[in-house]
Amino acid sequence: MPAKTPKARRILARTAPEMFVGRGDALRELTALASPKAGHQSLVLLSAPQAGVSELLRQTFDELFRQRGGASPIYFAFARTDHVATAAARRFLHTFLTQLVAHRRDDPALVPASPTLRALLDLVAPSDYEWVESLVQKFERAVGDADERALVRVCLSAPQAAASRGVRTVVMLDDVHLSERLRGEIELGPEVAHAAVQAGVPFVLAGLRRRMLDILNGTASLVGLDGLRKLHLDRLNERDARTLVENLAQRHGVALGDETRDLAVEQLESSPYLMSALVEAARDGEVQLTSFREFQSLYVDELLGGRIHRRYTGVLEEIAPSIANRRNLLRVLHESASNVGGKSPVEVWMKRLGVDAIEFERVMRLLHMHELASFHATFVETTPGVVWRDFLQAGYRLQVAAEPRALVVADTLVETLKRAPRQMARHYRRESALKLGDLMRRFDFERVPASLLHYDRYARLYRGVARDEVESGLEAETELVRLPQIVHAASCASFHPPMLQFCDEERCSVAHGFDTTSYAEADEVVWIAAEVESKLEAGRALAELWLDRLEGVAHACGFERVRFWLISREGFSADAAELLNEREAFGSCREQLELLSARLGQASEEGAGEKAADEFAMELPMGEDTELIAAHTVEQIARRMEFQPEAINQIKTALVEACINASEHSLSTERKIYNRFRVEDDKLVITVSSRGVAVPAILSENGAHADRNGLGTNEATKGRRGWGLKLIRTLMDDVEFERVDDGTRLRMTKYLRK
């Protein structure tokens, strides 16, 4: 029996350490500050909103607290309820001494307690008594003198006072951006920064990334502040976000399906705060999250009256305290969000808000800080987050347009449900894109075989050749192309937004670079690469259309030396390749891209999956002929059922086609096919499903035409693919397509005829 590891005790953390995911590196970096080797190094933790920075600091506190004998952790969060700077400073001193005493006595129960300063003197270790008493006396004098500056400085000097007596602390100050809101004679931000720089102990200054540095600098730049290390905390990556949702659901006893888990991550933008809010709401309402409908119902409840609602409402109340101003703000935010690109001119904003320039600047500063809108000289852009936009839409309809609540709830629910499959499809398309920008960013003057950028050469030399032989062939090639060094790459739409009409943002990229190391103007080059959607080799007309589009981008953006590169998964037809050569453009298929990527040193990664089965079920990775494994399995099952050999062959062929269909159409990011084989008395029922884009059955039925005489070349070629469903329908007795929350399921039945 494996030994049980004792659970680490939680003090300030809200999540068990083993359930805290995705922040391992940041946690290690923060806890390392306690080591004497870290010296006096402080850091500024710049966080995106709702990225879970507070929990990271609380986890750090607990971790350090558990390390007896080391530096004492101090966690303090600024709060609006302090109202004035001196109240915050007093609370800091109190927190500092309480947590220090708690750690040195190894008494976590003391952390949440609120003993008076005099009471703390009774609890303090004899070795600390003298300096603590001196600090308390200085504090009492400053209070008596009614000297705000002296009071704040005495309070903030506590870590320095401790350090001077050999007591090392790690001081973590959270929500530092809120210090800006505190009234008083002095700016607290620069005082805090000053303490962090001068104290001689490590400080962590954490807060919203868009305001932190301005607040800490105050009106004058502080010497030493620029030297502090900056740590950026964004939302979780997708994999960690999925783990977090699973952990939360498990901890709160909420049933969660894989599909809803992924929708939660996508829709809630991997925000630990929002995901926790949703799962906790599910626990409170005893709601399961096993379908999109359950998830969206709960989401709409939360959006209109739960924690998500309260969070955004609280921020808007902070920005616009009066109801009338808040209504105006909601209106202009909503109007702006409804415009193309979410933008409105500054004049419209000022007119709608009806405020003077100073108040306008304050509103903009807060919207910017909370990342709800961005101010760009002549226009204001509302942030495009899904949840924020949903909140705005519902808030506008309820509070400005005064629509009936039931109607708003119903509409929001219906819209979010309609949107969910589209949202996931968009996610899958994004994930399945070839990530051309990432690839080009790695170009660094390498010389690569020319056949990797010329499809016609590649097809002539390597089509149908085993991968290892292709690699040997490439090694032996003498004609090479020198890649540029790319210094910047971004989506084409970010240079030329109209491109979004033609393709997803990540499928077309623009990369700026140089052809030689001299970095001379004459060597500047811009590569524009686009992923052309074509199930077969792309034809001349399609290649021409794309080259024209890319030329249009180059012209509109004023790019002078340009190299166009088209990528089509299956390559290009001979006449399309000829056109590419005529126009001096590159063309590659997916395999060429993979080979190029491998030459640039990228390792591929493939996630491992889980397995669960209580009947004949199997989970296949897509590709590598794995459909044959499924075919051999079903053959064994069908033999046991005593199907005739002919029927067995039909079942195998149908299953192979169904697996190919799932691989080709779903754009699945997990790259798995789920097969289930249900044996009944008189029939075998096979279900093949994959998670990804739901493929309408009609799409697969199109083009199931083998008569080449009646079709033009292109149409005949198209007709030669898309036979899968026709074959399946012919070979099996019943075939049924079922669209599920997140993908497509094909159920096919073969009856036993003995």
Binding site: G464, L628, A706
Partner: protein, 125 residues
């Protein structure tokens, strides 16, 4: 898994070659067949046998590539015969219209015999 091709059967006569399909005709093996057929035609073969002995499964992508091979052969004035096609695969080919475009032979020998007559016929007649 589809059997790797370690080499194709040498041309049995100057004008005729035999290409083995392998155990699973899918995209990759279909492309190999296509490549070999094109290579043979380019080197002067006027007749090709694609032998399906041991072919367990053919999928629709494989069929689409075979159709392309038939097109290429036709355009080059070459003839193709499929041999040793299993009963199930014949049905599949019938369903997808291949049997209207290509002759089938029970064995490689029978296919070669058919094609020898074809290549003996002078071109242009």
């Amino acid at each position: 898994m589809s059997e790797p091709f370690n080499g194709f059967a040498p041309a049995v006569a100057a004008d005729i070659a035999v290409v083995h399909a392998g155990d699973y005709v899918n995209k990759l093996s279909g492309q190999r067949i296509e490549r070999e057929c094109i290579s043979r035609i380019e080197s002067g073969c006027r007749a090709l046998v694609i032998d399906f002995k041991g072919t367990e499964l053919v999928n629709s992508i494989g069929v689409s590539i075979l159709l392309g091979v038939i097109d290429i052969a036709e355009a080059a004035g070459a003839r193709i015969v499929f041999s040793n096609v299993s009963r199930h695969t014949v049905k599949l080919f019938e369903l997808l219209g291949l049997t209207r475009l290509v002759a089938l032979a029970d064995s490689e020998e029978a296919a070669l015999a058919t094609l020898k007559e074809f290549v003996a016929t002078p071109q242009g007649h």
